[in-house]
């Protein structure tokens, strides 16, 4: 699956990396040409960390996030190049997912590479861990990861929950898709019972449902349902929803925004995923609720040591939540750094502009510094810094070639000819990992 030795190197050097994006390009076929929504970005997500992905609307951050689940609609989208490698974990044998010392409390352990059985080979980059390229695995394998190893929280829980199904129906789908064996075990049903197994994996057809409504078979169905209910209730309880058994029977429109987002989170974390993608999870919520939801995500993330890709346009929020931050602009990475570094020493003029636009940072009350101009159109862009035209510091080179990512200090890199000139600092070689 991986073809480039250089890519392996990156993974070898950082064994705690759970997902690794290399030169990802996602384009959209538009009426006037190819829109380069994501145009060659590279970054890693480390196990258990929270990586903030910041940028304004249309900079490609949501597209990047969806690429992890391969949810970008094709057409009009096109995966134009690059890779996303991912190391799915499996449930810890010792504690069956509850969390023990063996698995550092996460309930997950690394899965052995199916190609080499853990000895280390090319496929797994020598780590011996199972490694997949999310952009090239078959659909069935992708579906097995979705909601299971990689989960997603959407921006507006009001829209991302199906209005026509109860909370129970929606959360139980996750279990039905990924935890069939557990459901059957909890219900005390033999895994060989085809009818019930199909029910517990959401494969029943209409006539099977009718069969299952007939008295002798009904008890089995009821036991499966009861087991499922318990799992759903537990998942909801994790998010500190009071009265989970009652909430289960509600339709989304009967719940408040905060409650809906809790349901969404419960659904996302139901299978204890390795990577959680949170796409502006608090934007659609009231300010007061936002804080609590953030707190909840943070707490759950720490408890499960789940890696989180946190997408936001809100820098102040990112600063509170994230370990590291990546700033995107017009489909490119502008700057990556730890949160502290970024706020202490913003390097890319765009990052500086963003920070300048934050209230309470040097500007007078009521006067926010704005970045002049608009985001460039991304239709077949030329080789040049994307910030050209809006940048206060631009030089001639900016319009001629793409600026490479240059490491300024450890963990901190930027793509700017002016502020991170290639060949100037000690670490002048272009870096892939921040």
């Amino acid at each position: 699956m991986l073809t480039n030795l250089e890519e392996h190197d990156a993974i070898v050097r950082a064994p705690d990396v759970i997902a690794s994006v290399r030169d990802l390009k996602i384009h959209f076929r538009g009426k006037r040409g190819m829109v380069h929504a994501v145009d060659g970005i590279s970054f890693d997500i480390r196990d258990g960390e929270t990586l903030g992905l910041v940028g304004e609307t249309g900079c490609g951050k949501s597209v990047t996030a969806r690429a992890f689940l391969r949810l970008v609609q094709t057409p009009p989208g096109v995966y134009a190049g690059g890779s996303i490698t991912f190391r799915p974990r499996r449930v810890c044998d010792d504690c069956s997912g509850v969390g023990c010392r063996e698995c550092d409390g996460t309930g997950r352990v690394a899965a052995h590479c199916p190609a080499c059985g853990g000895k280390g080979c090319r496929t797994c980059g020598g780590t011996g861990e199972e490694t997949v390229d999310l952009l090239s695995i078959p659909d069935a394998q992708m579906r097995a990861l979705r909601g299971n190893r990689i989960a997603m929280i959407f921006q507006d829980p009001g829209k991302a929950l199906n209005p026509g199904l109860t909370v129970r129906d929606q959360i139980s789908e996750v279990f039905l898709q990924h935890r069939t064996a557990e459901i059957l075990a909890a219900a005390g049903v033999s895994p060989n019972d085809v009818l019930l197994r199909r029910q517990a994996s959401q494969k029943s057809r209409a006539f099977e449902k009718m069969l299952l409504a007939v008295p002798p078979l009904r008890s089995g169905r009821n036991r499966v349902d009861a087991a499922l209910d318990t799992m759903v209730a537990d998942a909801l309880a994790q998010t500190q929803i009071p009265n989970p058994r009652k909430v289960m029977d509600r339709y989304p429109h009967e719940l408040s925004g905060g409650m809906r987002q809790r349901v969404m989170i419960a659904q996302a974390l139901a299978c204890n995923p390795d990577l959680l993608i949170a796409d502006e999870p608090t934007t659609a919520l009231d300010v007061t609720v936002q804080a609590r939801i953030l707190e909840l995500i943070r707490e759950l993330q720490q408890r499960h040591k789940t890696a989180v890709l946190y997408i936001s346009h809100d820098l102040s929020l990112v600063r509170r939540v994230c370990d590291r931050v990546m700033v995107m602009y017009a489909g490119r990475v502008a700057e990556t750094a730890t949160s502290q570094q970024l706020f202490r020493r913003p390097t890319h003029p765009y990052t500086r502009g963003l920070l300048g636009a934050l209230p309470g940072r040097g500007a007078h009350r009521g006067r926010l510094a704005a970045i002049d101009g608009t985001v460039p159109e991304l239709v077949d862009p030329p080789a040049a810094c994307r910030f050209v035209g809006r940048c206060p510091d631009e030089v001639a080179a900016c319009s001629r070639t793409d600026p490479p990512m240059v490491e300024i200090e450890p963990e901190h890199a930027a793509a700017c000819f002016v502020h991170a000139p290639p060949g100037k600092a000690a670490a002048t070689r272009p870096v892939r990992t921040p």
């Binding site: 009426k31 304004e56 609307t57 009009p76 300010v287 346009h313 809100d314 820098l315 102040s316 963003l354 636009a357 934050l358 209230p359 926010l368 704005a370 970045i371 002049d372 101009g373 608009t374 985001v375």
Partner: protein
Amino acid sequence: MVDASLSRPPVRRAPVETAARVRLRRTLELTGRVLSDPTTVIGLVIIILMLAMALLAPVITTPNVPDPYQMPRDWGAVRMPPLTEGHLLGTTNNGGDVLYGVIWGARTSLYLSLLVVSITVVVGTIIGSIAGFLGGRFDNVLMRIVDVFLSIPELIFALAIAAVLGPSFANIVLALAVTFWVKYARIMRAQIIRVKQNDYVDAARVIGDSKLRIYFKDILPNSITPVMVQATMDMGHVVLVGATLAFIGLSEAGIAEWGVLVSEGQAGISSGRWWASTFPGLMVFLWALAFNLVGDGLRDALDPRTEGR
């Protein structure tokens, strides 16, 4: 939050466009969008051909004397098959030239649809505007009347009216007009109520514009679009329903009208005389199809939700 600047960066001021320029640009954009859909273009082409046929009817045929809307009946050449000399598409039971009927039928249909649609659009728009703009009791009474009209399927209503008025072309026009205005009144009222709530209407009110001026300057231009889409579709629909009434037997004797021709011609189909009703029936189909395609395209182009369909 306060980070609105991020999600929507302030726009560098573009050169100011006049309202007229904006309208022109929008129209051009709309035209472009409409024309980008091949089915819409097919519809437009059919419409243009139909219109050409209707308008040029007196040129491409020899009009029947004294009334060109009557079929020219050649009683000595009844039931002639197509490609007979002088009767390219054959003749009817009464010796009427099918080609003449097809061509002048387009003119009759154009006449019918323009008449009905213009009457109903004007009446419906006025009534709907009054109801929506004034509101209150007047609105209530009007809308109850509209409800009553809408509680009868349109063909049945038109059928009942045409039946009572007696079979004639004018009565079909009348029956369709009585039936169809309601739709426009309802659309227009809903639009006006929606548009009325917009800020620019309030703004105009604050400036002190008169009600009539507000109506014509701000409300009407912004609410007329759905009416126009409906009118486009109805140009086809009117002919379809009108032809159905004519088929049932409510049009005039001997008139060059497609529904009448199908009705006359159906008697002969079993004996292989397919032409007398096939061609006119096909014309009704194409006519309705064309306006439906264009109306559909127009609606999609105007509706942001279905963009990129």
